[in-house]
Symmetry: D3
C-alpha cells in the first residue's frame, strides 16, 4: 500500500554561501529540489510511504537526485535516460535578504524529464495509492511532459487515488494565457487544488476575496477541495461547502524556498492519515513554518515537531 | 593564590551547521561545554585565576577537553581514567530558531566523571581559593558524583572559600523530587545560590514573586546570597537583607547555550575582585549578553568589553 | 525477491580533517560505518537489492544512520529503541599517515544493538533472500547480540539463503579465546567464511600457508567457500575443492577503512548475480581498490567502474 | 575615456567566521578593502570605467589586491614596491552583533603606500577622466601620502576632472586637530565633499543642523557639492544652492563595512552618467543598502538591482 | 599593442571535494575553465597582455566567468547573449586517483557560444595582436562556432598575427572523421599546430614516430611550427626544419586538468617575448609542471617561478 | 620546578588551502608558529613543564598566540605591549609541492618582540629551570632582542639551567656575516648547539664532514653537546667526546614546517627526563617524523606515539 505518489521534475540546486554573490562565489552548496519531490519528502518525513516518479539522466548527477530523495525516505520510480545528451535540470539560488531579494536562475531547458512518457514510468505504483500529487510546473516543461501529466492524472484518478494539484505558476516557463489553457484542461482529473491567491488572479483570472475565489473555482471545475494560500496572511480551504481559515506560524526564516511544498506535504500527510481539512491545514502551516528554519528545499521534520508547533507555536530549549 | 575553583562534568559538544539537521548533517562543529567549566572560562576571561576539577578518560578526547579549557586560560585539575571503557560525555546540539527550537541530545551515561572520588582530585588547590562553584548537574550524574560534590563543597567551605551553587535542574537526568532531596542536602555548605525562577518553583517548590522566593530560600537554608534569574525579565539578588534588580542587556543571539553560566562567571569575577553585589549583577548580565553573540558554550570576553556594555549597552564600530 | 540481507551494528563515524588531531580539532566529518552495512552498501551500489537489519535509538542520530544507508540504496529493517538511554555507537577516526598511523577510538558500549532480539527484527525479509551476511563483530557486542546472531544465521540458513560470515576480529571487544569459542559455535550455519590470514592464525589457531588454512577450515567446519585475505598480497579462495588466487589492484589510498567490507560486498554482488568464484574475487578486489580512493567507510561505486578496473586496472581521464 | 579614478590604500581584510573571536579563530575569510578601491568597485559594478591608483608590495599579497579589484572590473594603476621590507596593510575585522559590536584592528603602519610619490603613479590616466575621488584616510597615512594626495588632486582638477573627497576621519590614525589642519588645506582642489555629520562636528568643528553645516562648508571652502551623511537618518546634499534629502533604504545587514563607500560609488556612478544630484542620492542610498547584504567591503551590484531598489525598495523572489 | 588573443568557450567548472563522489556530494568547488581562456590566463600570468573572445549569457553566471578571468589579468571581449534561454556551459569534474580515474561530465549543449558570430565579437583587437590562438574544441561546438572560428583565424592571419591551434580532440563532441574534415579545412590559416601524439594518430591519421609525424604535418599543411606532445614522454617541436625535444619536469600532481593549456600558454609567452622555440618548449613544460600543483584549470604562476623550474627543476623552502 | 624555558618570537601563521595560491585565496588557515614556542609545545606534549617567554601586543591577536600555546599545555610568560602601534609578526605560508616549492612571506618588522627587555620578562621562572632554549632567529630581530637574548642566556646559565641554542639562520633577516658575528658572541653561555650542516658551512664557515664540524665547534666554543642535522641524511651528535648517528624515520609529509623544532623538542624532552644523548636523538627524530604528518608548526604528539615510532617506525591501524 502506497500513501502518496508524486510526479515532476527535480533539479540540482546550487547556492553560494550567505552574503556571497553568484558572480564571485568559489563554492556551491549542493542540494536537490523540485516541487513534487519536495512534497514527497515532507510526506515521507511525516510518516507517509511516498513515491516520486520522474525521468533522469543515467549519470552521477541523476543518481545524486535519487540519493538525496532516498535519504529522506522517498522511494523513487525513475525512467533512466541513457542518451549522451541527457541532462539534469539545474537551478542556481542566491539568498539575498532585503532589499537584494532572492535570485533564482534556472538552467532546465531540454532536461531529461522533457521527453518523459507514460510507457517508461512505473505507473503500477498508482494502483494502490491513496493520493497522487503534481503541480503546474510539470506541464510547462514540454508538450511531452504536459501530455504525460494528463495521462498520469487520469490513471491515478481511475485507480481511485485522491488527486491534488498545486498550480505553481512559473513566469520563466510560460505566459499566463498558455498556463491557463493547459492547466484548466487538466482540472477534470483533479480532486484538490492548491493555488496562491496571486496565481488565481493572474492565471485563472479570478478576482475578489479568497473565499469567493475558492467557491468560484470549486463550482467551475468541480474540485472537492480548494486551498488558497496568501503568504503572510495564511491559507483558506473550501471543502464540502465549508470554509476553513489557517494563519501562518511565525518562523525565523533561513531559507524560504520550498515553504509552499512543505505546506502541501504537511496537508497531505494529515489527510492521508485520515485527518480533517482543518487539522490538515494546521499540519500544512506548521510544516511550512518548520521548513523555513531549514536550509534547502526539503522539510526534514517529524510528526512530533509538527504537533508541537500546532500545540504551542514555538520550540524553546529542551534538555 | 587561586581565585575560583569549579567542579563538574565537561562534555564534547557536537553541532551541525545552522539550518542543517542532525538527521542529515555531514559535519559537526566541535567544542566542549559543561556548566562548571563554562563558569571557570568566563571567570578566567575576566581575569580570575581559575581552576576546573573533574575526571576524564585518558584519551585524545579527554585531552580535547583540557586543550580547549587551557586555551581560555583555565588551569585543569584532572583525574585521568585509564580504564578501557572510560568515556567522555557527549552532547549533540541543534540550533533551530523558532518554531523549531533548540534540540539537545545527551550521550553522557557512564562517563568517566560518574566514578569520581575525592581521593583522585587535586583538592589542595582549594586551600587558598577565594571561591568555589558547582552546580546541580554534577550530583545528578551518579551517586559517586553526588557524594564527591558534597565532600568537595564541605572541604571548600572548611578552607574558607565562598561557595556558590547553581541549581541548574536537568529533567533528562532526574525527577524534581530526586533533585530536591539530593540538592537541599548540600545547601548547608553553600553560601550563594543561583537558581532560575522556574527551577525554584518546580524543584524547590517555591511560589510567589522572585523577591519572596529569595527571602524564603535565604531564611530556610541560611544562604548569604540568593540570585534568582528570570530569563528576559532579568535577575534579582538578595544579599545582606538587601534586594538588587538587574535587567538583561539586549543581544543579537547567535548561541544561547551557556548564557546562564556566563552570568554566574561574570558575577563571580566581580565578586572575587571585591565588587558589590549590584556591580556583580551588572557584570553577570553584561557577560551573559556578550556570550549570546558567540558560538559555543564559552564566554570569551574581556573586562573592557563587559565594562563597556555596563556603561553603554552596545558595541558599534571602532576604527 | 531480496538479494542480500546483512545484520550488525552501524555507528556514527566522526573524523577530524586530514593533518588535524582529535586533541585539537574544531570540526568532524560525519559519516556512518559498520562492517555489515558497509557490505550492504557495496552490494546495493553494484546492483543488489540489499537490506540491513539492526537496532537503533529512536532519535535524530538513529535516523542519521538510516538516512545515509538509504541514500546509497539500502533498505533498512530497524528495531527502534525508545528507551531514554538508548544510544548510538560512535567511533572516532584519525587518519595519520606514516609513521603516525590510523587511530580508531570506539565509544560503543551499551549501544542500542546490544539489546537486540529476534522478535523485534523484521526477519520475514530472509524468507526470499538469496544471501545473508554478518560478521564476527556482532556477537562480540553482547550476549544478546551473540544469541540473536546465532538465531538469525539459523533462520537464514533454514530459509535457503547462502550465508556468509566475515570473522573480523576486534581486539578492543574481546580476547582471542572468547572470540574463538563464540564464533566457532556459529559456523554450523555458515556457508562461506571470509577471514584475514592473521585472524585465522590468532583466533582460529591455524598455521601454515593460506591454502592449507583454507583447506583445514573447510574440512573442519564444512564451509562451502573459504576466502582468506592477506592485505597487499591479495586474496585466496577455496571453493568446490578448487583454489583461486586474486592479487590486489593498486590504488591511491585516501581512506583505507572499509576496504575489507568493500571486498566482501563486491564478491557477494558477483556471486548473487550468478558469477563464478574467480570472477567474484576479481569484483571483490576491484571494489576494494576503488573504495580506497573514497572518503568514508562506504564503497560508492558502479558495476561499470568495477568492470573497468577488472579489465584495465586503472582510470585515466575521460572527456 | 575614463569615468572615475580613485587613489588610496587597499588592505588585506581578514575576518573570523560569524560568532568566532579573533582570540581563538582557526580560519580567516580573506578579502581586500580600502575606501577608495571600494568606491572604484561600486562604480565599476554600476558601469563606470574605473581606475584605482596606489602602491603595493611586489609580492603575492600585493597581487592578491590587484586580483580582487580586477575581478570586479576595476583597472589598476599600481606602483610596485620592490623593497625587501615592502608590506601590505592588513586589517582584522570581527563582526560581533550587539552588544559586542564590530572590532577593527589595523596593522597598516609602514605599508608600501606610505612612501608613494607622484612620479611612480601612472597619472596620465587623469588626463581624460570625468571624475577623481579620494578620502581623508590617504593623507593620514604618512607625510608622503599626504603630499601625493595634494598633488594628485591638483593634477586631476587641472585636467578638468570633477574631484570629490570623503572626509572619513579615522581616530586610530590621527587627532581631530591634525586631520583638520591637513584636510582643509586640500579643499581648494575639491569640488564635492562627502562628510559624516559627526566628522563635520568633531573634525571640521561645525555645529547645527546638517543643512546649516552644508551651507557653511560650501561657503567657507567653495565646494560645488556638499553631501552630509547621518547614518540611519539618511543623507542630505547641497548643490547649486539647492538642498536634497535622501532617506536610507532598509536592509538586512550582514556586513556594514563599506556601506559609506558604496554610497559614494553609487552617487558618483549616477553623476558620471549625467544624473542629477537627487537621482545620485537615490543611487547612493540604494547601492549602500544592497552592500549591507553582501559580505566584504565591496558593493557587487548591478544597475538593474539599484534601479529596482530605487523603484520598489525591496527584492522578493523572482522565478 | 596586444600580445595574445584567444577565442573559445569557457565553462563553469564544478567539482566535489577530494574523496567525495558526484553522487553524494554536498558541495562544489566553483571555478571556470576552457582551453582558450586557460591559455590566455597562463599567458597573462607570464606577462602577456592577453585578450579572450567569446560569447556568454548576460547573467551572474556569465559574469562569474569574466570575473575570474579578469582576476588573473585577462581582458575579455565578450558578446553578451540577452536571450532568456541563454546558458553557460558547465562541466562537472570528479578527481578520483587510481584506479578510479578522473571523471568529466559536460553539460554544454546549446551554450551561448554555439550561436557566436563574427559581427558580435570585438575583433578590432586582432589588428595589433602579436599572436592568436584557438583550439579544435571551438569548431566542434556548432556550425556557427566552426564558421566563426574560420573567420576569426582568417582575420587574425590577415592582420599579421602569428596564429596557433591546439587540436584538442574531444570524443564527447564529435567523431574522428568529423573532426578531421572540419579541422584540416582550417589549417590554411594556422602557423603553429599543437597536437597530442594520440590525436595526430586518431584524428589526423598520422603514424610513426613523433618526428616523422611533425615533418609530415608541416609538409602537408605548411605549418611554420609543429609541436607534438606525448604525455610523460615530453614534447617535440619542429620549427624551421629543426627538431627540439623537451622532457617533462616532475610534479606532485594535485590537479592535472589544464596541464596542456598551461604548456601552450607558457610556450606562447616565451615566443611572444621573442624567445626561441627551444626556450619556449622549456617555458611550456615548466608552466605545465607548475600547473599540476594548483587546483583548477588555471596556471597562476610567475615568470620567476617558471625560470626557477627551468633552471633547477624544483622548489624547496625559501625563508 | 620547571623543566624547559624558551624565549623568542611567535607569529601568526596564515596559509591558503592546499592547491590555492596566495594571489587568489579566499581563506586562510590560522595557526601560530615560532621556533622557540614550537620547541616548548613539543616539550609540553612529551611531558615537560614548559614555559615560553616573549613580548606580544595587548590585543586579540596577541591573545590568539597565548591561547594556542596554552591549549598545548605551555605556560606563557608574556610582556604585554600596550602601545597603539604594537603589532604581532605574521607569516604567510603557501605549500606548493614540487616543483612549486613552499613559499614563506614574513611580515614581522617592528613586531612587539623587537623592543623586548629583560625587565619586562618574568625571568624568575629560570631560577628552578632544568633547561633553557632559544635560537638564532631571536637575536636577528633587533638590537634589543639580541641584547635581551644574551642577557637571558646568561641568567639561565647562571641559574644552573642547561642552555641550548638552535642556530636557525634566516636569510631574510640578516647576512651570513652579521649572523656569525652576533651569534658566536652568544656561544659562551650555550651548553648545547643544534645546527644544520648547511648553516654550519655558510654561517660558521665550517667545512668537511659533519663529525669534523662537530668536533671543531665543540673545541672552538666549548659546547658540551653539538647536534648537526642533515635533512634526509639524519642527525649526528657529539657529546662527551662520543659521536652518535641517527637516521630519519620515514614519513608521509603533510607539512614540513616545524620539523626541526620538533626534533629539538623531542631531544630536550628525553634529556630533561634523564635520557642519554642517543635516546634523545631517537626521540628527536621520531618527534620530527610525527610532526611531518600534522598540519601547522606544532608537534602535537604523545610519548607513547614517539616510543612506538622508535620501536617500530610505523603506525598501522589499531582497532
Amino acid at each position: 500500500m502506497t500513501d502518496l505518489v508524486t510526479f515532476g521534475e527535480t533539479m540540482l540546486r546550487l547556492s553560494p554561501p550567505q552574503g556571497t554573490r553568484l558572480e564571485t562565489t568559489a563554492e556551491f552548496d549542493v542540494r536537490v529540489g523540485g516541487a513534487e519531490s519536495n512534497v514527497a519528502v515532507a510526506g515521507a518525513s511525516l510518516g507517509l510511504d511516498s513515491v516520486w516518479l520522474s525521468k533522469l539522466p543515467r549519470s552521477p548527477l541523476g543518481r545524486r537526485v535519487v540519493s538525496e530523495l532516498r535519504a529522506h525516505g522517498v522511494r523513487t520510480g525513475v525512467a533512466w535516460d541513457d542518451g549522451d545528451d541527457a541532462r539534469l535540470g539545474t537551478y542556481y539560488l542566491e539568498h539575498g535578504g532585503e532589499p537584494r531579494g532572492t535570485n533564482v536562475i534556472y538552467d532546465r531547458a531540454d532536461s531529461a524529464v522533457t521527453t518523459v512518457s507514460t510507457e517508461e514510468l512505473p505507473l503500477g505504483v498508482l494502483d494502490d495509492a491513496t493520493a497522487f500529487h503534481t503541480t503546474g510546473i510539470t506541464p510547462a516543461l514540454s508538450d511531452a511532459a504536459a501530455e504525460t501529466t494528463r495521462a498520469v492524472l487520469e490513471r491515478a484518478s481511475a485507480a481511485g487515488a485522491t488527486t491534488s494539484f498545486d498550480l505553481n505558476y512559473r513566469s520563466k516557463l510560460w505566459s499566463h494565457a498558455e498556463a491557463r489553457e493547459t492547466l484548466t484542461a487538466l482540472f477534470d482529473h483533479v480532486d484538490a487544488l492548491f493555488v496562491a491567491k496571486r496565481d488565481a488572479e493572474a492565471v485563472l483570472e479570478r478576482e475578489g476575496e479568497a473565499v469567493e475565489v475558492a467557491h468560484g473555482l470549486a463550482t467551475d471545475f468541480g474540485f472537492e477541495t480548494v486551498v488558497i494560500t496568501r503568504g503572510d496572511r495564511g491559507a483558506l480551504a473550501l471543502h464540502g461547502g465549508e470554509v476553513f481559515e489557517q494563519p501562518v506560524y511565525e518562523a525565523d526564516t533561513l531559507d524560504a524556498i520550498g515553504t509552499g511544498d512543505a505546506f502541501v506535504g504537511g496537508f497531505l500527510a494529515k489527510r492521508c492519515a485520515g485527518g480533517d481539512v482543518d487539522a490538515a491545514l494546521e499540519w500544512g502551516a506548521a510544516t511550512a513554518s518548520l521548513k523555513r528554519t531549514i536550509s534547502g528545499d526539503l522539510a526534514v521534520v517529524t510528526p512530533t515537531e509538527v504537533e508541537r508547533v500546532v500545540a504551542e507555536g514555538e520550540g524553546g530549549i529542551s534538555r
